[in-house]
Amino acid sequence: MFQNFRLAMAWLHTWFGLVLGFVLMVVFFFGALSVFDREIDRWAIPATRFEPQPMPSFDKVLRPVFEGMQPTPQSLKALRDKVDGPLPERFDTARRWAAYTTHRDPVLSVFTAYEVPNARNPDDVARGNLTVDPRTGESLPDDRLKVGSRFFYPLHYSLHLRWLNLGYWVVGLAALVMLAALVSGVVMHRKVLREFFTFRPKKSTQRSALDLHNMTGVLALPFHFFFALTGLVIFAGIYFPVAHTQLNPLHELHEKLEAQETGLPHERAGVAAPLASVDAMMAEAQRRWANRGMAGEVGFLALQHVGDANGYVSVYRAGTDRIALVGEGVHFKASTGELLREDPPRSAVASVNEFLTGLHLQHFRHWLLRGLYLFGGLMGCVCIATGFVFFVEKRKKQHARQGSQGSRVVDALAVTTVTGMLVAALGMLIGNRLLPDTMPAGWPARGDMEQYLFWGCWVLAMAHAFVRSAPVTRGLINPAWREQCWAVAAMAVLAVGLNWVTTGDHLIKTLSEGYWPVAGVDLFLLGSSVLALVAARHLKLRTETVSRTKQVGVAHV
């Protein structure tokens, strides 16, 4: 197909980079925001703007919460096709109760999984989840959308396309193409070391865009490569479900052996049993960790086979000071509190796997590293955006001569994906502040409205990008770029202003109190506004230069 390796890699980089670049832009941007997903949640749900809390007492606070929980309507809806017969009114047999918290969580997420009596597949469960205030045990209203951790973050890894896991597959393909684009990018970049620090903004758009594209790609190459690779590793079970399909017999064999080895029962006994003090179990686990020289907080608590004689309680240490998310599990017999097992130190392979997944999911406490992650993610966004700009600039004039619409379409899609995406996110935040606390009857829930606003704004931005794109067919800049930059600048400031007006937590207040989650989001919004204004001005100057050149060209003819 190609004369040599370099040409093959250049073709691959250009075309796969272009097509999957639209997906990667979304993945990188919302991935970068997800570093501070819980902080965005605080901004979006003012009722949760208090200090992070440790795991509360189970016996006094969590047990009543768990006992009162039932599956969510969404979970029941998903189960209707998977049962022979009717779904029960109440789900009382809980396979699992779990609670997870990190050093950044003021509110606690609790999860439940219930046995489904008529399920065709015995592994299917009905799921419940709730967000509680650990200080009181009160739960948050169901329709408060955690804009950061339950919208931006899942958007980043699944595009919210849950049908047949399609979104996961698209993101997975994008990640693989990202790896290929990084390798092919280095292969085709002949002066990788000589141009390591080169950025020439005063040259043509094509040259300066390429300089910036190369720089943001090469300087953060280890970051981009590792995040794409570790993202794939995290969802390896979805992409290559070997253990649950071809090698399922081997997997089952292993499960039986493991259950015998660990003493943690795989199945229920069918005999009811009481629940001993889980607080005592948590205290014992913490004592054991301290004895091993790694004193720590409880990060993850899980009760398996709830209410059964085979039930056991697992207490995991929060990985606040390490890369792994949680670890050092200690397991107790649920009915008596007797110690069943202390997890042995991880094997070499398990440590490597924990390191790779942990470095991507980053629940550790290290504010500099998190800040650098955000920066790296934004560098990736600039890399992709400048890739689009370079692609269009390189072909615009030729397409203008040929009367082709190619550059116009790609350019409009680029506007949609770069500035349009920002407009969508800001529209959602503005809606978050403007929507009433409870929607009037007949309207969708508040959280759903916010999501409709996100997608709606994005569609509007796309329409605007296409409608304004005619100049590209004449080799000029699409005015939509500048217009959307103005929109972003205005909307970002509006969002900060609305936060002030609707919650009273203006920047001076949050900065003086040191409440960084909200101050940080407000500062990031204001910073974005400044950048958007600088970009708009730069675009204005470029547009004027280009039109002056065109006029000169015409005069010469």
């Binding site: 620090f197 300087l219 590293l369």
Partner: protein, 108 residues
């Protein structure tokens, strides 16, 4: 001084070390040397002096990171610091190349 603020100081020092290291490595390249010292040529010995100091500063940055966190976390912090430092140096060379002039004596 509290442990947290000492750690913050060490990490700041690590970032600075990485920036200086990257600046040295940048100046060892002909094109960027000419931006900072257009009049004087870059000698071969100068190139090695700059590269040597650059590598030393980057290694120093890694050592500082390791003093704050355990190895696996420190390695991540350092790699990210390198990226940011390189970007800072690149932008400085683009808009204010003379700010790196103080490193020039090493190359002359």
């Amino acid at each position: 001084m509290s442990e947290a603020s000492f750690a913050a100081m060490q990490l700041s020092a690590a970032v600075i070390a990485c920036v200086v290291g990257m600046a040295c490595l940048a100046l060892a390249l002909e094109g960027h040397w000419a931006q900072v010292r257009p009049s004087r040529p870059l000698s071969k010995a100068g190139v090695w002096r700059l590269r040597g100091l650059g590598a030393l500063c980057l290694a120093g940055g890694l050592a500082l990171c390791m003093a704050v966190d355990h190895a696996s976390m420190a390695a991540l912090v350092w790699v990210m610091c390198l990226a940011v430092a390189a970007l800072l140096v690149a932008f400085t060379l683009t808009w204010r190349p003379r700010w790196l002039g103080w490193l020039a004596p090493l190359g002359g």
